[in-house]
C-alpha cells in the first residue's frame, strides 16, 4: 500500500516534470516559429497577427543585390573558414591525440582560449591589427579571423573522435601490406569521417553566424549577419524575418543531413 502510494507520487512528479519541460520547450521553440508568419506578412512592419499573406519580403531579399552579395560573401567566408579550420585542425588533433611531447597539455588547454576570451575583446584586438595591415573589408581576412574562433570546436570534436579510435586497426592494415596512404584512406578516414563532418559543420556555422568580429573587420563588404544587424537597427520591416526563416529551414535541413551522415560506420573495412 505504502509502496503504491509512493509510486503514484512519482507518477505525479513525472507529470509535473513533463508539464514544466513542455513549457520550457515552448519557450525554446516559440521565438523561432513566430518568424514564419511574420515573414509571410503583407504588412510593412512587424505586426502580429499579420494582416495578410504575401511573399514580398522574400522577393525583396532576392531582388536586393546588397542582400544577395552579403549572403554570397558569408557563404564564401564560411567555406574558406571550414577548409582552413580543417586543414589546421586535423593535423593538430592528430598531434595532440597521438603525440607525447612537452607542452602537449598546454597546447590542448590553450586551444580553447578563443572560446573563453570575450568575442568583443578579440574583435577589437583583431580590428586593430587588420586596420594597420589594410585588411579591413577583405573576405579572406574575415575567414582567417573566423578560423581562430572555429578551431577550438573543430579540435574538440576531432580529439574526441580520435580518442575513441582503435589504432590497432591501422596497425592491422599496415600488417596486411597497406602503405601509409592506403591505410589512412581505407581505415583512418572512414572511421574518422563522422567526426570530420561534425567538425566541418561546426566550423561553417561558427563563421556563417558570427557577427561581432565581422562587424568590425568587414567594413563596407558586409557579411550576412552584419547586413541583418544593420537592417534590424535601421528599419522595422520583415525582410530580416524572411532571411531568418530561410536560415532556420536551412539549419534544420543541415541537422537532419548531419544525423544521417554521422550514423555510426559499422564495418569500415568491408567496402
Amino acid at each position: 500500500m505504502k509502496g503504491q502510494g509512493r509510486q503514484r507520487g512519482a507518477g505525479a512528479g513525472r507529470i509535473l516534470l513533463r508539464f514544466v519541460c513542455g513549457l520550457i520547450f515552448a519557450f525554446l521553440m516559440l521565438p523561432l516559429l513566430v518568424l514564419f508568419p511574420i515573414s509571410f506578412s503583407s504588412g510593412s512592419y512587424l505586426r502580429f497577427p499579420p494582416p495578410g499573406f504575401s511573399l514580398k519580403w522574400y522577393a525583396r531579399y532576392f531582388d536586393d543585390p546588397t542582400w544577395i552579395d552579403a549572403t554570397y560573401r558569408s557563404l564564401q567566408v564560411g567555406a574558406a573558414t571550414t577548409v582552413l579550420a580543417l586543414l589546421i585542425g586535423i593535423p593538430l588533433a592528430f598531434g595532440l591525440a597521438r603525440g607525447r611531447f612537452r607542452g602537449r597539455a598546454l597546447i590542448e588547454n590553450g586551444i580553447s582560449a578563443p572560446i573563453i576570451v570575450p568575442h568583443i575583446v578579440l574583435s577589437i584586438a583583431i580590428y586593430g591589427l587588420f586596420s594597420r595591415l589594410g585588411l579591413i573589408g577583405e573576405w579572406y581576412g574575415i575567414a582567417v579571423a573566423h578560423t581562430v574562433l572555429a578551431l577550438p570546436f573543430v579540435v574538440i570534436v576531432l580529439l574526441s573522435g580520435l580518442r575513441d579510435f582503435d589504432t590497432s586497426l591501422e596497425l592491422a592494415a599496415r600488417g596486411l601490406g597497406a602503405g601509409p596512404i592506403d591505410a589512412a584512406r581505407t581505415v583512418t578516414l572512414p572511421i574518422l569521417a563522422p567526426s570530420v563532418y561534425s567538425a566541418a559543420f561546426l566550423a561553417f556555422i561558427t563563421s556563417f553566424d558570427e557577427l561581432v568580429v565581422a562587424m568590425f573587420i568587414s567594413g563596407a563588404n558586409m557579411t550576412l549577419p552584419k547586413k541583418m544587424f544593420d537592417s534590424i537597427m535601421s528599419e522595422i520591416e520583415p525582410t530580416v524575418a524572411a532571411v531568418s526563416a530561410m536560415q532556420i529551414v536551412l539549419i534544420s535541413a543541415l541537422l537532419l543531413l548531419g544525423t544521417w551522415l554521422r550514423r555510426p560506420v559499422k564495418a569500415p573495412l568491408v567496402r
Binding site: 519541460c21 520547450f25 502580429f48 536560415q247 539549419i251
Partner: protein
C-alpha cells in the same frame, strides 16, 4: 613468414605519430598571429602614456564600475534561471523514452544551431509593441495599451536565457546519462523519498555537469554583446557594449584596451575560481 610480414608494421608504429609537435605548428602560428599578438598589442595600448592612467579612469568615478557590476548581475541572473529551467529539461531528456528523447533533443539543438542574431530578432518580434505578447494581452482584455517590454532589462535577460539554455542543458544531460540507473532504483526500493534521491544521488553525481554549465553560461554572458545591444535598446548597458562604443564612436583605443583587459581579467578570474571549485569537489 607471418612474423616477417608483421615486423615492418610494428617498426613503423612511429608512423602513427609523425612528428607530433610539428603537426601543431600551423595552429600555433595562426593563434600566435591572430590571437596572442593582437591581444598583447591591445594590452600594451592600455598602458600607453605610461602607468595605469586608463585603468584609473575605468575603475574610479563610478560609471564604468557600475556597468561592470550590472554586467555581473545580469550574467548571474541569466545563469541562475538557465540552471533552474535547464536542469528539469536535462533530467527529462536523460530519463525519457527514446522517441521523446529524440524530439526533446531536437527542441534543444535547433535553437542552439540557429544564430544568436536570428534568435534575438525573434525576441524583438515577440516583445515589440505590436508583438505577439502585447497582442495576446490586449485581445484577451487584460490590457488597454501595449506594454513596452522591449528595451528593458527583462527583455535582455529573456533573450540571453534563451541563447544560453542549451549550454546549460547539454553538460548536465551528459552527467545525468553517466549515472547508473540502478542507483536511484535501489534508493527507491530502500524507501528513500524523491527529494532524498535527488539530494543524495542526482545532485552530487551531476555537480560536475552543473558547474561546467554554470561556468560556460556565466563566462559567456559576461562578454555578451548582440542580445543586450538589440533587446536593451541602449538602455541596458553591458560591459561589451561600452568597449564597442569606445572603439567605434570615440576611437579611444587606449581606454578600450584598458576596459578589454579588465573584462578579460574578470572573465579569466571567474573561470579559474569555478575550475578550482570543480577540482576541490573532485578531490573530496
Amino acid at each position: 613468414m607471418t612474423l616477417a610480414a608483421t615486423t615492418p608494421a610494428v617498426a613503423s608504429r612511429s608512423w602513427l605519430r609523425p612528428g607530433p609537435f610539428a603537426l601543431t605548428l600551423p595552429a600555433l602560428l595562426l593563434l600566435t598571429l591572430l590571437f596572442i599578438l593582437p591581444l598583447l598589442r591591445l594590452f600594451s595600448l592600455s598602458f600607453a602614456g605610461g602607468g595605469f592612467g586608463w585603468y584609473e579612469k575605468a575603475l574610479t568615478g563610478g560609471l564604468y564600475t557600475a556597468i561592470l557590476y550590472r554586467t555581473f548581475e545580469i550574467a548571474g541572473i541569466v545563469t541562475f534561471f538557465s540552471l533552474m529551467i535547464g536542469y528539469p529539461v536535462a533530467f527529462l531528456l536523460a530519463t525519457t523514452t527514446p522517441i521523446w528523447h529524440a524530439i526533446g533533443f531536437a527542441f534543444v539543438m535547433l535553437p542552439l544551431w540557429t544564430s544568436v542574431l536570428v534568435r534575438t530578432y525573434a525576441w524583438m518580434v515577440l516583445l515589440g509593441r505590436n508583438g505577439i505578447i502585447n497582442r495576446v494581452l490586449i485581445d484577451s482584455g487584460l490590457l488597454d495599451t501595449p506594454l513596452s517590454l522591449l528595451n528593458s532589462r527583462l527583455a535582455v535577460i529573456l533573450g540571453m536565457v534563451h541563447v544560453m539554455l542549451p549550454f546549460m542543458i547539454l553538460p548536465i544531460y551528459s552527467a545525468l546519462t553517466r549515472i547508473d540507473p540502478d542507483l536511484p532504483k535501489a534508493a527507491r526500493g530502500l524507501g528513500a523519498s524523491a527529494a532524498r534521491i535527488f539530494t543524495t544521488i542526482y545532485l552530487p553525481l551531476t555537480l560536475r555537469g552543473i558547474i561546467a554549465g554554470v561556468m560556460l553560461v556565466f563566462v559567456v554572458s559576461l562578454g555578451f554583446y548582440i542580445t543586450p545591444a538589440l533587446l536593451g535598446g541602449g538602455k541596458v548597458m553591458m560591459f561589451a557594449m561600452v568597449i564597442e562604443q569606445q572603439v567605434r564612436e570615440f576611437l579611444a583605443w587606449n581606454f578600450a584596451g584598458a576596459l578589454s583587459v579588465i573584462l578579460l581579467a574578470v572573465t579569466l578570474m571567474m573561470f579559474w575560481l569555478l575550475n578550482k571549485g570543480v577540482a576541490r569537489h573532485l578531490r573530496d
